[in-house]
């Protein structure tokens, strides 16, 4: 393991501890140790929330890293392909149609189905591998736009109490994550880390172009389908867990590439760790800026990530 990954793991642990201690009310680590039994519910609540942040931040960042490499576009992320839009329709339908109240996995299943359907439509429109990256991205943007309008229509059918929940969820919300969805999400992130580490050299090659990927021993069409589909699963899982969280999948891979280079065998784990750390920082801030009204994490990632991304773009332009 590289030194930078050890540093990132230590940073994640430090933020995990900070996130457990800091909230509407501060409890020191010693308070949790001395009076654990009475603070156990609060500890579990905050611990689960921090693990959710790590999982979603890692998943979104990895999905962004992979989509950017496959599409050879530093601006690609799960949302660029319209995947989050499709996933949010599937998840919202499972809320509105009452499937969620009967079976908790109806939400991720709906999100997966929504994301897969959107992916199939996007790939079909762009005829992936024949018309190239531009048509794939354009198809994704169109699909995302249609999805956001359909989501608004679905919200108009929702009952009042459902409407509040779904609206909050569309803004990105770690607070309401169902604990039964968390551990499958952790397992999925771990599987993705192993998969992408095994395929890292092929990802490098496809980042150079379909022709180079072929000449270096890969099958660009098969690689594109496997990588885009797996990144879509990661994105759909995050939407099912916490709604739409923007910029994390865009900005973290960008920062990691600038700091640590572009070789994927070196940056797959780093990207996931930095994504987890970024989302924990955003979550801690969202809880601490206002103790009266918690800021949705999707708003926080946009507020922090947007200007940061513009600054990075500007810096790159002048380099």
């Amino acid at each position: 393991m590289r030194l930078r990954d050890i540093v990132a793991i230590l940073l994640n642990i430090a933020l995990l501890v900070l996130g457990i201690c800091w909230g509407a009310r501060w409890y020191s680590p010693m308070a949790f140790i001395h009076d654990f039994e009475s603070l156990r519910p609060l500890f579990m609540l905050r611990f689960q929330r921090m693990i959710t942040a790590i999982t979603i931040g890692g998943s979104l960042s990895l999905a962004g890293l992979i989509l950017q490499a496959v599409l050879r576009n530093p601006l690609a992320e799960p949302f660029t392909l319209g995947l989050s839009g499709g996933a949010s329709i599937g998840a919202a339908l499972s809320f509105v149609l009452g499937f969620y109240s009967k079976w908790v996995f109806a939400v991720p299943l709906g999100a997966f189905l929504g994301a897969i359907s959107t992916l199939a439509i996007v790939l079909w429109i762009s005829r992936c591998g024949r018309n190239g990256t531009e048509s794939l991205l354009l198809s994704g943007v169109i699909a995302g736009t249609i999805a956001s309008n359909v989501l608004v229509q679905i919200l108009s059918f929702a009952q009042n109490e459902e409407l509040a929940g779904i609206t909050w969820w569309t803004l990105g919300d770690l607070q309401g994550t169902d604990p039964r969805l968390l551990w499958p999400g952790v397992v999925l992130l771990f599987i993705a880390l192993v998969l992408y580490r095994c395929m890292a050299d092929k990802i490098d090659a496809i980042a150079l172009g379909d022709a180079q990927a072929f000449y270096l021993g890969g099958n660009p069409r098969k690689l594109t389908v496997v990588l885009v589909a797996s990144a879509s699963f990661l994105a759909a899982e995050t939407v099912a867990m916490a709604g739409i969280i923007s910029f994390c999948g865009l900005i973290i891979p960008h920062i990691v590439r600038q700091c640590f280079g572009c070789i994927h065998r070196h940056i797959v784990l780093t990207t996931a760790l930095w994504g987890g750390a970024f989302l924990m920082i955003c979550d801690i801030l969202s809880r601490c800026i206002s103790t009266q009204h918690e800021i949705p994490i999707g708003v926080m990632t946009a507020v922090i990530g947007g200007p940061l991304f513009l600054w990075l773009l500007n810096k790159q332009h002048h380099a």
């Binding site: 490499a69 890292a200 150079l208 890969g218």
Partner: protein, 255 residues
Amino acid sequence: MPDSPNSTTELRADSLSFAYNDRPIVRDFSLSLVPGDLTVLLGPNGSGKSTILQLLAGRLIPQNGDVLLDGAPLRKLSGTQRASKIAVVPQAAPPVFGFTVYERVAIGRRARLSPFTKFTQEDERDIQQAMQIFDVERLAERACNQLSGGELQRVMLAAALAQKPTYLLLDEPTSALDPSHVVNTVKTLRALLDHTAILLITHDIELAANAAKRLVLLKDGAVIADGPPDATLTPENLTTTYDCVASMKPAVSFF
């Protein structure tokens, strides 16, 4: 650097034909490459040179004929088997991401290795040697997307060399190089011929005349002339190939 050839070492194209949307691009083309060969394809735009290169590399499947790599049909070999024998330098296009020169050359080398294999000292030595040969060692930490066209071509040549191929297929690898680097590239390619077969596509007739052991003139996907440069580069053949009157005037030469 490359492996020693064995007696069946041959990249062979047998009567290849290929068409895009019923428009014939390559007609009944045959070629054999064995280590020691430096074959140059010469012809006007759209004569099928790059298509032939892609057919020989396995990226395109011929409608008729077959490509055999060391006796086995190329289309039946795995990607790793293919990449461990054939390296291709396509026409240079800067990568979107900022791979450094060292990283880009190392990616060529990794095509031979399994996912968790670390570079050995031999791998590192070959990468450094490839960068030295093509004069990009001093650019090792520069991002490829910030290089000039000529520098990028030299990086791609170094990456192909680091791949340690038996067959090297080059699509206009010197189009952006200055004369000094063109001469150096030709010298380097000739030095590789003990263990490597090279197919070179170019529009540079002087380069073709000086580099080629065998020269194939193409027009509309068909062979106009095939043989040593002295025999093929005649005013008649060039006039037929390029549809304009050619003469063999003495000119400034760096070779």
